[in-house]
Symmetry: C2
Subunit: 452 residues, 2 copies
């Protein structure tokens, strides 16, 4: 088999469906109890998943009144998960807009050491108004400038990760030499947005650099991903747009001189799993019946830059003109477009639209037997819509348990998915090489150089 | 017994003596291996220590060529240690100058949840030129302005920690109410240096606020400590100055309306422990013989704002005028004064001075049998020089093992130190109350309100 399927678990509150916490299969675990997240990561590791992932927002969610989400901060969470697991990759979102590059580069390098090479960074250029207001109102710059800044930010942090040669630490008590100072180099970055002089204050990490993950889908976002990202999370409601997206990203990667095989595309997949399709479908119905319209409306409004949608009535059919023009949206434009296209295509009532989005927020949702779920995975994978999936269980950990117990073995039987881990690092799971230091090249043996 | 002795372990490289890593009792553990720090924290917990502590610098140390230190980033380290231990407090340094208050407040709140209420923050206002250069050269402001900013910073982060009422999270699946929005309050801080609007995006933590620790000794530093600190780490070469310092801090605390019993003073103590005093003393001699003068000179220079001291010869007696005026030093002025006073008093050779500082960097160092070490502890404690000690083992973990096995039982026999933990939080160990939210007061029962 030439291509390998990759699976990530997106950990989100008590599950991705906004009413998960109200369903009988939902957990009552506290979202500030680290052992809850440890349990999920251990379960994902039992399922031989490549990685787990935490999204993040730098503000209190507007939906928090009726929505069980928010909880621990992602980087401190990853450090704890690194000690509860042995193999699985650990990915967290952090904002390039609101974190000093020296601090971010250092915490991720530290996490890569703590996890022995299992960390990935999901790069976001924060755009929420509420977040800006928590950071001195300094970061609310327009979409394109956000990405120009992000390009320079990435230049800075990758330089910092490369500022120690792999063999800089000599650690020889006999001679009294701890570090070979010739092998540590101040980065002397004096750019348009950032000025960072020194080397990082931590030796180069096991993966050299954490795996770089991204989720932007706009023009600037795609170009950024093609340049820097090694894995991309993306949302599609149908296979066709996923194929187009992946094809486009691979072409862009080639155009900037990269090997497109080193850019994995992982669409979101929110599955309900049952012994029959009808039983699986029933889970969506039950969950949708537990939703609170205010929550769905708050989410929909957020997708359209905070637009006021309170004049819309729940049981009338929507027209695309009821929603703001996605081109005016400062955040994730592509998600707004996707929702507007759906409205144009299906003309749902507002209630039906909110139900449709309640499970996957614009990601692909499906219901079926384990074989049917595996069929979807195989179909998208073989047809070039995906290198793997960002699995978004509607209820956590319950539906992840279903997936690990029922879908993973089916994927393994079909030869699509690993039966055992064959690597020890996230780069190894994702089939990505270990980057050399741009200042010092590789000082490892060729055997060490192959990410395992 | 009315007063309780408190003990913290200061974790620093392979030990506090700069040549620890070259000594036969030194460890060869990697300083980027989290299990090394876990081993030390577990050992300290076996010794019923109140807490462990990590200092921090936001730049590569100038001494790194010949000095085994630097390694993991403190906050990610604490998260891992929280899962390797059950009782001991976990304190880390973080810079108010180079971390956004929203990010810092959130990571510490997250750590307080992850550790079930065992976290403390050692507040530093970074001053190193090298650190400023890693953060856009924005933070190198003068001593007094640094502290003015720090006062406002503390106001912001304590507001953020108080922005959720303890009972804001209702978490009632039946009614669909997760958070009572009336019990979460945007802080609307619009100050001179900081503008932070929202509430923190994490529920209030087990301790309400992490324990606030500080180590400044200058006029502004003492006033800051008297206002905010609940524990103070300090360096003294003799009991008399320690008594003066503690007395002064307690008076200042009283003057701003605080109970001085809620401000613990913990001087540094670097002990060598042997079955005879001579054997203990031999450890210092062995360690000093392994020092590299460049390292000592780099440290001494750093203490005096990076002054060039290369013209001094190792074996001639120093006069105080050989060192820069401490008043011109932008960093830890009090430490520079302490060193200059020592030179004035003892007129050591440069080599002897470097040896004197190699073990404790200006903290109290001593050598003796376990009984003699316990005598020092008891003497300082009874005479009002200390509420406890910041124990700085010259070699880690070896001398911490000695301390736990030999000194702690002696302190317990004398009724000075706990035999078992009687509390579950750092506030509980330190005898500090759980702060009420300034916005919501306490919504806990009186039983919960007592920190245990």
């Amino acid at each position: 088999m030439s291509r390998t399927l990759h699976l990530n678990v997106f950990i989100h509150g008590r599950g991705h469906h906004e009413a998960a916490w109200r369903h009988p299969r939902g957990t009552t675990a506290s979202l500030t109890d680290i052992s809850y997240y440890e349990r999920i990561a251990v379960l994902a590791e039992q399922g031989k998943f490549d990685s787990v992932f935490f999204a993040d927002h730098l503000t209190v969610g507007k939906d928090i009144g009726h929505s069980a989400r928010g909880g621990l901060e992602p980087l401190t969470t990853l450090a704890a998960l690194a000690r509860a697991t042995e193999n699985i990759g650990l990915i967290a979102t952090a904002s390039s807009t609101y974190t000093e590059p020296y601090n971010l580069a250092r915490q991720f390098a530290s996490l890569d050491h703590i996890s022995n090479g299992r960390v990935g960074w999901n790069i976001v250029t924060s755009w929420l108004k509420g977040a800006a207001a928590n950071f001195g109102d300094t970061g609310q710059i327009d979409h394109d400038e956000r990405y120009r800044r992000a390009f320079e930010y990435l230049d800075v942090v990758t330089k910092l990760w490369d500022s120690w040669a792999d063999d800089a630490r000599v650690d020889d008590p006999a001679s009294g030499i701890y570090v070979d100072l010739e092998r540590v180099r101040p980065i002397e970055h004096d750019g348009h947005y950032y000025h960072v002089k020194g080397a990082l204050n931590i030796p180069r990490s096991p993966q050299g650099r954490p795996v770089l993950v991204q989720a932007g889908s706009s023009e600037a976002g795609r170009q950024f991903a093609a340049t820097y990202a090694e894995a991309v999370f993306t949302a599609h409601l149908e296979k066709a747009t996923a194929v187009q997206f992946r094809t486009d990203l691979r072409q862009r990667a080639k155009a900037v001189g990269r090997d497109p095989e080193r850019l994995l595309v992982l669409p979101g997949l929110s599955p309900a799993i049952g012994s029959t399709e009808a039983e699986a479908q029933r889970l969506w119905t039950e969950l949708n019946e537990l939703t609170v319209p205010e929550v769905g409306l708050a989410h929909l409004s957020a997708r359209f830059g905070g637009a006021d949608l309170s004049h819309l009535s729940l049981d009338e059919r929507l027209s695309p003109d009821d929603l703001p023009d996605p081109a005016t949206v400062q955040g994730a434009q592509s998600r707004a477009e996707l929702i507007r296209d759906l409205v144009a295509r299906e003309r749902p009532t507002l209630r039906a639209l909110l139900h449709k989005l309640a499970g996957g927020r614009g990601h692909y949702i499906t219901a079926g037997t384990p074989e049917q779920i595996a069929d979807v995975v195989e179909d998208w994978f073989r047809d070039g819509a995906a290198d793997g999936f960002n699995v978004m269980p509607p209820i956590l950990p319950a539906v992840l348990e279903d997936f690990v117990e029922q879908v993973v073995p089916e994927l393994q039987r079909r030869g699509l998915f690993r039966r055992e881990y064959t690597a020890r690092t996230l780069r190894g799971h994702y089939g990505l090489p270990r980057p050399e230091s741009r200042f010092f090249g590789s000082s490892r043996t060729s055997e060490e150089r192959v990410a395992v």
